[in-house]
Assembly symmetry: C2
Homo-oligomer: 340 residues x 2
Amino acid sequence: MNSAAHFTARAKLSLAALLLLAGQALAQSDPLPSWNDGAAKKAIVEFVQATTTQGGAKFVPPAERIATFDQDGTLWVEHPMYSQVMYSLERVPALVKAKPELANVEPFKTAMSGNREAIAKLPFTDLEKILAATLTGMSVDTFNAEVRKWLDTAKDPRWKRPYTELTYLPMQEVLKYLRDNGYKTYIVTGGGQDFVRVYAEKTYGIPPEQVVGTMGGTKYGYDKSGKPFLTKEPKLLLNDDNAGKPEGIHLMIGRRPYAAFGNTAGDRQMLEYTGTGDGARLMMLVLHDDSTREYAYGPAQGLGDTKVGAFTQALYDEAKKKGWTVISMKNDWKRIFAFD
Amino acid sequence: MNSAAHFTARAKLSLAALLLLAGQALAQSDPLPSWNDGAAKKAIVEFVQATTTQGGAKFVPPAERIATFDQDGTLWVEHPMYSQVMYSLERVPALVKAKPELANVEPFKTAMSGNREAIAKLPFTDLEKILAATLTGMSVDTFNAEVRKWLDTAKDPRWKRPYTELTYLPMQEVLKYLRDNGYKTYIVTGGGQDFVRVYAEKTYGIPPEQVVGTMGGTKYGYDKSGKPFLTKEPKLLLNDDNAGKPEGIHLMIGRRPYAAFGNTAGDRQMLEYTGTGDGARLMMLVLHDDSTREYAYGPAQGLGDTKVGAFTQALYDEAKKKGWTVISMKNDWKRIFAFD
């Protein structure tokens, strides 16, 4: 071995030693730094360790590692109103401009009035009309461009920041931690599948094919030049909420998740379906009990009723009974937002 | 450096040298050994090189590398009859045993008769009744178990082999070659999504979440012990054929493919949708023109009409006009099956 070879060999050994040390350091570093030590953090870490330890009784083959996350109230802020509903309400002026005949037709008239109190009182059936009129009837490409444009400028009324910045840092850490351990992370939301897909990749690192949401039909057709395009139809294929969540999971994924995260009664069946599988399963519910740093609403635990994202007392009791972990935003989360 | 360290260093260098040589050998080896040299093979290799060469004009980021494959007639044999239809017909006795009132009701009576000629003449609406009765109305778990059991014993009438062995080796090589180059491979089939999912992972290395097919609804409910389960409902959500293919791709993947493979007029819109995207796109159609090693049917190119998997002359002409590559089984494929 000549001196050059000596040097190379020595350098390689040093590099190997460094990599070894770095690896150990990484293994020891905390994957969930925004979480306080407690039962919730412990449950996540123990679940990941149990399902990824080769040869362990609860080992899950990488191909089967599926984790599902509700979005509104679980991954990002849903109060005072779901951002998709804000989008639809703010689209009404453009809609009425394109279709002036709607100006004096309810619920568009109220939506145009700017009277927040009256808008807040619109019944659900009226809200559905507004959602259908603003989320369908255009090409997929036009819709994507409109949502993207809105997200670039719209701001949450409290933090005055883009909605996509209002994601919970502790949950972003869970997404990354699971992915780093071979899990495929899915969003399973009652929100519109196409709406969430517009920003899920950039915001959560979740690609469009891993977004399961309320699904509408599309129609394949041609423009005047003969170029094909897809139009969003007002045809509901699946309402991805409550029992629709396991149904949507079966449709889009075809496997039972090993971990499921939610925050309302609409996530109950997803957690139940997940928990019915064999081996280690992780079911978690975010409880919004931090009126200072975010919001406090239940009605579980006397936190007050809400129209948006209800964590019922019955769900809380079921969670306790079945060993689903309730995450207290107040106690379990050291930091809530990346901008904190 | 002591002698042990010397030895380790030397061993490491040798190992590195070996790995380097092996890497070069692999890089030079043919990823498509069952393909004859020709336009089809060239089109695949050039597409992969163009879309994976960093810095190239046609480079596609890994996250966007989506390739879609029709199944029947594209990945495996579809003649004399789609295997899913064979499954449904062979399930009829068990169905009639469970529901004796169907024994004298058409089309179940004919299906039970064993009269192949009469069965072959059943109109499509009758076939649909048999498909609905044998593919829905049971739990997802029961369905999966029944299909798995059938696949373990059923044999193709010509080769006397399990249907899952009748996959085309050249297409298996394309699937692997694309995956080795960062592509996510999807099946996009007119067949039942749940049916194909049962064997797609073992047969093609394609996981359930990457199978897009004709989709039926499921219903979340509970058994007597309170355990939740999904029942397959006779509710059609999407007929994943013709225009339904791009609609299904949007629903399940949410991105336009860069490569699409088919073999009939039912794949036309999928190829058209794929080809309308920017940059390098690969559209290919398998032409069954090998009556000796497999089957010959068209009706394109005078290959004779068929009820199962029609490659029309109009599709052939469109392919030639648009630069979609027609794969001749006879001329482009050196081997057809792994067992050849």
